[in-house]
Amino acid sequence: MKGFVGIDLGSTTTKAIIADADGIVLGRGITNSRSNYQHAAAISTEEARIEARFAMLRRALLQAGGANELHEKLFVALQHRFRLEQNIAQLDRLAELAVAETHAATFHAHNGRFTTRVAEIFSEMRRRALSPLAPARPSEFFRDDAISQFSTLAIAGADAAISFETLMGIFDKAIVAIEGERLDLTFEGHIHRSIEAVANSFGRNAAAELSRAAEAALAEPLEINATICTGYGRQRLPFPKEQIRSEILCHGQGAHALFPDTRTVLDIGGQDTKAIQVDENGIVTSFQMNDRCAAGCGRYLGYIADEMSLGIHELGPLADTSTRRVKITSTCTVFAGAELRDRLTLGQKREDILAGMHRAMVLRSMALLARSGGIRNEFTFTGGVAKNVAAVRALRALVAENYGERTINISPDSIYTGALGAALFAVRT
């Protein structure tokens, strides 16, 4: 099978899509963008490839025995186990690196004790990961999970001789090292052991069936025919120019693919906001981006979250509980914190201020939309801020106030819009 890859390198996450020659999505992948964009592109593409392989495996399963409840369970269990295998592989390598770190000269006086303590912590992490109660997490979260578990265990494991800070220092070095490596996390590398493990709970027959399906999936070659790259990081991409497309075009094309009747796209990301008009073929007819000023971008919410010591994902739900929205006129990121403090001193409620701030932010996008030509028809909202309930509520209200009733599309997969557009460009090259 021929695969066509689209990669969207964002400021926070990198997304990849593999599509077939007809533009049908085979798989998707997402990872944190790191300082090394090439690495992030490779990892997200590998993730997409794995998803594509699973799709093929499932197809083989279905062809073998038709859809049934057992197959469904088997498949879910296999995916779960596969994630676990990937995690264990990463964890084991991380443990190796961390232990090696304890041999460094700095710890000479105590190195034996450090080595033992670090090994104990990783052994506990491995035990917990293998527990039947452990949730299956895709490997994009490996770093976050490892940090949180290690630090919890390190707090418990620290003593007068072995300080928490030193343990974390060892861990940090190891995690930096592992992120610089290309660990084998491929479908091919882990599927067989995953099947073995699943066989323990579902029996030999199931294992055999899964094995056949896996072989069938692997028998079909998945070659990448073309890759197109887009996104915030594209200025620094190690891709040749012919393989790079503007994110504006990719977003337009992606939104069109998701919602073919879309004529207007609004993308609010962390760093910038884009208002795009497309025609009936998804071809961009005009666009506007925010200027140098970051007012009205996701970054604005970031400042507010920091000021409130909240996670950025907590802002929307909190704002959504507001009953008396405060009127906020400025969305200057520089003054966001000061404004918030001022208003809290005045006795205004957090949720009411937040609701005002969400509306003020969306107001900026409305201006950009108007600048690009307004909302004439069906409208699609994408980007990280499209996941924020309060922002969506404010947007719906403002669209209705200014343009009347309009269909507003928000896909739960909107984060992939740019990558999808890029993949469709890859199909066309």
Partner: protein
């Protein structure tokens, strides 16, 4: 891109002219010459030459400082002295340069003014600028109020008003400063030379109507306007420069050559653009490169009209010396109202067969920038050609975000390309929306109005394969 970097005689000549001007300015005092500071739009170069005074153009100093990467320091200096970060950076660059010795490109200080000729044409900031210089130099100011073309026309009353001011304000002050009498014969001779240079200059600008265009009318254009917008209009050297330039462009045109860039001859002409607004000077080369690397050539620009709309027919006329100066001042691009500016860009888009038009909106210059977004929309509506919008500044490097601007220019050019090919390639390939309509193609029921996202949920539940 042809990497052979070519220097043509006109370029050498242009460089020499400008360098010589700064040299003679640095020696003005020794030579006993009087010095008048004035502005490019609506400059009265021929009249100044008739009094044998040397002009200093502070905007040119500021843009030169920008190109020599000195402006950031000068602006910081002015802001430290209390100038707002919100206002024109030409002014602050000039003020900062003055505060640090007023050293010109020759490395020697520019002479102080004997007179500030405030012929303020289309820019209110000019007035504040010279008020600031008046405080510093404590020298006389000749105010020349150039009425704005608010209704899109120059009336005989407006011309009479400017001529009267020339007679009662500007000329008497020049006479007082120089101790010379106004010499109309000398003015007429200069105006005749101006008209000659203007003919050749217009021919060069018009050459961009050809495909490929032999010139870049914005990035190359700013070099072409140098002599005629500054001290060399109405001089033999100026006329000679434009004759040389014209010959070269004639040759390039005959050879079917595309414009010259700092990296040699430009590659294939892929996009023809009209540009509105001044360029950014601090990253001028980088800015230009964003265009020629993509095969984009600017075929017409409004910035090259701030010192006169010669291409629309204006010529200095030695028969009516003061009237012609008055009409010249009022006819500069900066003195046109928004409907006239809009109509001019629309005309350029049509006359030069442009694929697009791009606004470089500069933070410093409200005279240019206020209203540009409406102009853009209006021109799109009238021509059906897509407009692009980028934001930067004249000489403040803090407002030139290279990644952002490159992103916008590339997106814009790719949009033009996609639109151009869209009707053929895209429609063929996406007769149906590719990612979505597989099921419809297979005649399967379409339960959700064809709006099923092509992306399956993340875990399990993949869409039925075929």
């Amino acid at each position: 891109m042809n990497k052979g970097v070519r220097k043509e005689p006109s370029m050498v000549k242009q460089k020499e002219l400008i360098a010589n001007h700064f040299t003679r300015l640095s020696k003005a005092r020794a030579l006993g010459k009087k010095v008048v500071y004035t502005f490019v739009p609506g400059n009265l170069t021929e009249l100044l030459a008739a009094f044998d005074v040397l002009p200093v153009l502070p905007e040119i100093n500021a843009l030169q400082s920008g190109m020599r990467k000195l402006s950031a320091r000068y602006i910081a200096e002015a802001e430290r002295a209390g100038h707002s970060e919100d206002v024109c950076t030409y002014v602050k660059c000039d003020i900062g340069m003055g505060m640090t010795g007023n050293v010109g490109p020759t490395g020697e200080p520019l002479p102080e003014p004997d007179l500030l000729l405030l012929s303020y044409t289309g820019c209110f900031v000019f007035m504040k600028w010279f008020e600031l210089l008046r405080e510093r130099y404590k020298c006389p100011v000749a105010m020349l109020h150039v009425p704005y073309q608010g209704e899109g026309v120059v009336t005989p009353e407006m011309t009479a008003y400017v001529v009267e001011q020339l007679k009662t304000e500007v000329i008497p002050k020049l006479e007082a400063v120089t101790g010379r009498r106004y010499d109309e014969a000398r003015l007429r001779a200069a105006l005749a030379l101006s008209a000659k240079a203007e003919d050749d200059f217009v021919w060069v600008l018009d050459s961009a109507k050809n495909r490929p265009s032999p010139i870049d009318a914005y990035f190359g254009g700013v070099y072409y306007i140098g002599p005629i917008f500054t001290a060399f209009r109405g001089t033999a050297e100026g006329a000679d420069y434009y004759a040389t330039l014209r010959r070269e462009v004639e040759e390039r045109l005959a050879a079917g050559e595309s414009p010259l860039t700092p990296e040699g001859q430009m590659g294939r002409e892929k996009y023809r653009l009209v540009v509105e607004g001044p360029p950014n000077w601090t990253s001028f080369r980088e800015f230009w490169k964003m265009f020629y690397d993509e095969g984009a050539v600017v075929v017409a620009s409004t910035y090259t009209k701030v010192g006169g709309l010669y291409d629309q027919g204006f010529r200095h006329n030695p028969e009516r010396p003061l009237e012609t100066l008055a009409e010249y001042c009022m006819g500069c691009y900066t003195n046109l109202n928004l409907p006239s500016r809009t109509a001019l860009i629309e005309k350029y888009v049509r006359d030069f067969h442009a694929d697009g038009f791009l606004f470089n909106s500069v933070k410093s210059c409200n005279s240019f920038s206020a209203g540009q977004l409406l102009m853009l929309r209006e021109i799109e509506k009238r021509t059906g050609v897509p407009g692009g919008f980028i934001e930067s500044d004249l000489v403040d490097p803090r407002y030139f975000s290279e990644a952002n601007i490159k992103n916008r220019i590339e997106s814009y050019l790719q949009m033009i390309e996609q639109k151009r090919r869209g009707t053929t390639e895209f429609r063929e390939q996406s007769a149906e929306s590719p990612a979505v309509s597989r099921r419809e193609r297979n005649g399967e029921p379409d339960g959700d109005g064809g709006r099923t996202p092509p992306i399956p949920p993340k875990h399990g539940g993949f869409r039925e394969p075929t």
